[in-house]
C-alpha cells in the first residue's frame, strides 16, 4: 500500500473530480504554481480555464464563483489563509448559501470553498492562525474538517459533488500526516457521517480535525484506567447527532476537544445539544482555545492557547470522577 499524504489526497481528489466532470474548475491565488501543493500538476494538465489564477480580490472572486455556479459550473475556490474566509463571509453565508432558498428552489450553488491550511502555523501569529469553522456552522453552511488523508480525499470529493456550498477545512495539524491507503480505500465519504476512531465505554471524546490524533494518544495513555471512545464528527454541519447519541447512550460521559475559540464555538454546540437531548450521567466538558484566543506570533504564546493533551487528560479524568 502506498503512503498517501494529506495534501496529496486533496490533490488527487481534485484531479479525479476535474477528470470526471468538465464543469469542475478551480479559482485561487498562486494555484498555477501550486503554492499550497493542492494543484500540483493540474495547471499543465487542465490548462488556465480549469485552474484559474486570480488577483487578490477575494470578495469579487467568491461572488464570481457563485455566479458561475448558478450558470451551471462547479467551482472550487482555494483560500490561502483562514482570515480570507472572514473577508468573504458575507458572500458565502448571506449570498451563496441563501440563493437556493431566496429563489424558491430555482438556484443551485455548488461551490466548494477549500482552506488547505486551517489553524496555527508556527510564528505566523495573530492574523493567520484562526479556525473559523464554527462561524459557518452557525450559518448552517455545510462544513467539513477531515482529520485523515483518506477523509480529506473522500470529503473533498463529496463536497465538490454536492449541490450546495460546502466549506472544506484542512487543519495544518493534519497536513504532515501520511497514511497507508489501498487505492480502493480512496472513496467518497458522505457528508454528515461521523466516524468512531476508537471504541470505548466510559467516556466519549469528540475530537475535531487534527485533534483526533491527540485524542487517540490520550486514549492509549489512559487505556488501563479509562475506556475512551474517540468520536470524529468529520462534518461539523450537518452534524451526525444520531451517532453522538448512540455513543453517549453507551458512555453517558462527554468531553469535546476543539481547536477553535471557546465562546459560541462548535464545542459549545455539541455540549448544548447533548445536554438537551442525550443521555448524560455527568457534566460534560470542553477543551478549547480560550475566549477570543489570538495567537501571538511568538511560538510560546501560540502554543499556550491551543488545546493540549494534558488539558484533555485532566478533563477526561474529571468527567469520569464526577457523577
Amino acid at each position: 500500500m502506498a503512503k498517501l499524504s494529506y495534501t496529496r489526497a486533496l490533490n488527487q481528489a481534485l484531479a479525479a473530480e476535474m477528470e470526471r466532470d468538465p464543469a469542475v474548475f478551480l479559482l485561487g491565488e498562486d494555484v498555477k504554481h501550486a503554492l499550497t501543493n493542492v494543484t500540483v500538476g493540474l495547471f499543465s494538465r487542465f490548462g488556465p480555464e480549469r485552474i484559474v489564477e486570480t488577483p487578490l480580490s477575494e470578495q469579487g472572486v467568491t461572488n464570481f464563483a457563485t455566479g458561475a455556479a448558478m450558470a451551471g459550473l462547479r467551482p472550487v475556490v482555494e483560500y490561502q489563509i483562514p482570515f480570507l474566509l472572514l473577508l468573504v463571509f458575507e458572500q458565502i453565508v448571506n449570498q451563496a448559501n441563501k440563493f437556493p432558498m431566496m429563489s424558491g428552489g430555482q438556484a443551485k450553488v455548488p461551490v466548494t470553498y477549500l482552506l488547505p491550511a486551517a489553524g496555527w502555523r508556527s510564528g505566523w501569529g495573530a492574523q493567520h492562525s484562526d479556525e473559523p469553522y464554527s462561524l459557518f456552522a452557525h450559518y448552517a453552511v455545510k462544513t467539513v474538517v477531515p482529520a485523515t488523508p483518506a477523509d480529506a480525499f473522500g470529503l473533498f470529493v463529496s463536497a465538490i459533488r454536492d449541490d450546495d456550498p460546502v466549506v472544506v477545512f484542512a487543519p495544518i495539524g493534519s497536513l504532515a500526516i501520511r497514511q497507508d491507503v489501498a487505492p480502493g480505500e480512496l472513496v467518497p465519504v458522505p457528508l454528515g457521517t461521523a466516524q468512531i476512531r476508537r471504541d470505548g465505554h466510559d467516556v466519549t471524546v469528540v475530537a475535531i480535525g487534527h485533534l483526533v490524533y491527540d485524542a487517540l494518544a490520550v486514549a492509549e495513555q489512559l487505556a488501563d484506567q479509562v475506556s475512551i471512545e474517540v468520536f470524529d464528527p468529520r462534518t461539523l454541519y450537518p452534524f451526525d447527532w444520531d451517532a453522538l447519541a448512540a455513543s453517549l447512550a453507551k458512555t453517558g460521559r462527554l468531553v469535546v476537544v476543539d481547536d477553535s475559540n471557546r465562546s459560541c464555538g462548535m464545542a459549545a454546540e455539541i455540549l448544548a445539544t447533548a445536554t438537551e437531548e442525550m443521555h448524560l450521567t455527568a457534566p460534560p466538558r470542553r477543551v478549547t482555545r480560550p475566549d477570543g484566543a489570538i495567537l501571538g506570533s511568538a511560538p510560546e504564546y501560540d502554543l499556550a492557547l491551543q488545546p493540549s493533551r494534558e488539558q484533555l487528560t485532566d478533563a477526561v479524568l474529571g468527567v469520569v470522577k464526577s457523577g
Partner: protein, 356 residues
C-alpha cells in the same frame, strides 16, 4: 445550465409553471415597443405602490418610476436567454427582460405563485425562466455574480451574455470594482450598467463619487460611455453596442445612464418624507418624463391601444397576485438546500427527560 425550477420540491401550488398574464416579449426597438414596455412598467409600479399602501406588499418597494427608459432600452437589446442580475430597484428591468408581471407582483405580495414562490419578495426576486438569476441585497455585489455567470456561459460554448444593473451608490463598493478587473482581465462577456439617478438613498452622487462614474471602469481598460437615460433609443443603441462586443468575445462594456427616480428611494419615504432633493430639481427632471417623450413617438391610436393593453395586463397581474395562495408556515424551511437537506428546528427535537 439550470434555468428551470426544480420540480422535486413543492410547497403547494407550484409558483413557477407557465405564465399568469400573457405579455409578449419585446419584439424589437420600434418606438411602439419601447412605449409599450415603458407604459407597462409605469403602471405596474404605480399599482404596486397602491398595494404597498393597502398593506398587500409588506416590504414596501423601491419604485423605478422615471427610469423606465433604461429598462426598455436594455431589455430590447438582450435575448430572452441572456442573463440579468438586477438590484433592489429592479422591477422595470425584470419586466423588460420578459418576467411575467403577474408572477412578479405575486412575488412582491409574498404569494407562493410568485416567480420565486414568495421567498425573494420585491427586493430580491429571481426568475430563471427570464434569465434573472438573483437580485442580491448587497449593493454592487451583483456585478461579480454577473461576471461569473457570463464567464461560465462562455466557457460552456454559449454565446449568451450577462448584464449587471446597479446604481450610482454601487460604484464605490469594493467587490464591484474587483469584478471590473476580473472581467477586463478575462474578456468576460458582461455588460455593467449603472443607473445613475444622482442619489444613493439620500446621498447625492457628488458626495459619493470622487472622479467620474465612467472613469471607474476606464481605469480597468473597460470601454465606458455616459448616455442619456431618459430616452430609450440612445439606451438601446449603447446596450446593443455592448452586446455586440460581448458576443464577439471582445469583453466587458460599462454604461452609465443618466436618469432620475421620480419617487422616493423606498416607499417608506411616503411617511418619513425626508428632504434631501430640491423640489425644483425633481420638477426639472419630471419635465423630461421618458414616458411622455416616448408617447410623442407613437400615433394616437396606437398609444390608446397600448395604454389599454397595459391597463389590462396590470389589472390581470394584480388579480393574479392577490388571488395567489399565501405561504404555509409549515414550509418555511423548504428549499434551504438544493440537496434537500432539512435543518433542526428551533426547539429540542427530543428533550432529555433525565433527572440531573
Amino acid at each position: 445550465m439550470t434555468l428551470t425550477a426544480r420540480p422535486d420540491v413543492t410547497d403547494g401550488p407550484d409558483g413557477t409553471q407557465g405564465p399568469a398574464t400573457a405579455v409578449p416579449a419585446i419584439t424589437g426597438p420600434r418606438p411602439a415597443d419601447f412605449y409599450r414596455i415603458m407604459r407597462l412598467i409605469r403602471r405596474f409600479e404605480e399599482r404596486a405602490m397602491d398595494l404597498v399602501k393597502s398593506g398587500e406588499i409588506g416590504s414596501g418597494i423601491h419604485a423605478c418610476i422615471g427610469q423606465e427608459a433604461v429598462a426598455a432600452g436594455t431589455g430590447a437589446a438582450l435575448r430572452p436567454d441572456d442573463i440579468l442580475l438586477a438590484n433592489h430597484r429592479g422591477h422595470g428591468q425584470l419586466l423588460a427582460k420578459g418576467c411575467d408581471p403577474g408572477r412578479l407582483l405575486a412575488e412582491m405580495a409574498g404569494r407562493t405563485s410568485g416567480v420565486a414562490r414568495g421567498r425573494g419578495g420585491s427586493f430580491h426576486p429571481s426568475d430563471f425562466s427570464a434569465g434573472v438569476l438573483a437580485s442580491t441585497g448587497s449593493v454592487g455585489h451583483g456585478a461579480p455574480l454577473a461576471a461569473g455567470a457570463a464567464w461560465a456561459l462562455a466557457r460552456q460554448g454559449s454565446d449568451r451574455i450577462a448584464v449587471s444593473v446597479f446604481g450610482d451608490g454601487a460604484i464605490n463598493q469594493g467587490a464591484l470594482l474587483e469584478s471590473f478587473n476580473l472581467a477586463a482581465l478575462w474578456l468576460v462577456p458582461v455588460i455593467f450598467i449603472c443607473e445613475n439617478n444622482l442619489y444613493a438613498t439620500t446621498l447625492p452622487v457628488g458626495a459619493n463619487v470622487a472622479g467620474s462614474v465612467t472613469g471607474r471602469a476606464e481605469a480597468f481598460g473597460i470601454p465606458a460611455e455616459s448616455v442619456d437615460g431618459m430616452d430609450p433609443e440612445p439606451v438601446y443603441a449603447a446596450v446593443a453596442r455592448g452586446v455586440a462586443r460581448a458576443r464577439a468575445g471582445q469583453g466587458p462594456t460599462f454604461l452609465e445612464f443618466r436618469t432620475y427616480r421620480f419617487e422616493g428611494h423606498h416607499t417608506f419615504e411616503l411617511t418619513t418624507r425626508p428632504r434631501y432633493r430640491d423640489p425644483e430639481e425633481v420638477d426639472s427632471w419630471k419635465a423630461r418624463d421618458p414616458l411622455a417623450l416616448q408617447a410623442g413617438r407613437v400615433s394616437q391610436d396606437e398609444r390608446a391601444q397600448l395604454d389599454a393593453e397595459a391597463e389590462a395586463i396590470v389589472a390581470a397581474a394584480v388579480q393574479f397576485a392577490l388571488a395567489g395562495p399565501k405561504p404555509d408556515p409549515a414550509h418555511a424551511s423548504d428549499y434551504l438546500y438544493a440537496s434537500g437537506l432539512r435543518t433542526r428546528p428551533g426547539t429540542a427535537a427530543r428533550a432529555a427527560e433525565r433527572a440531573v
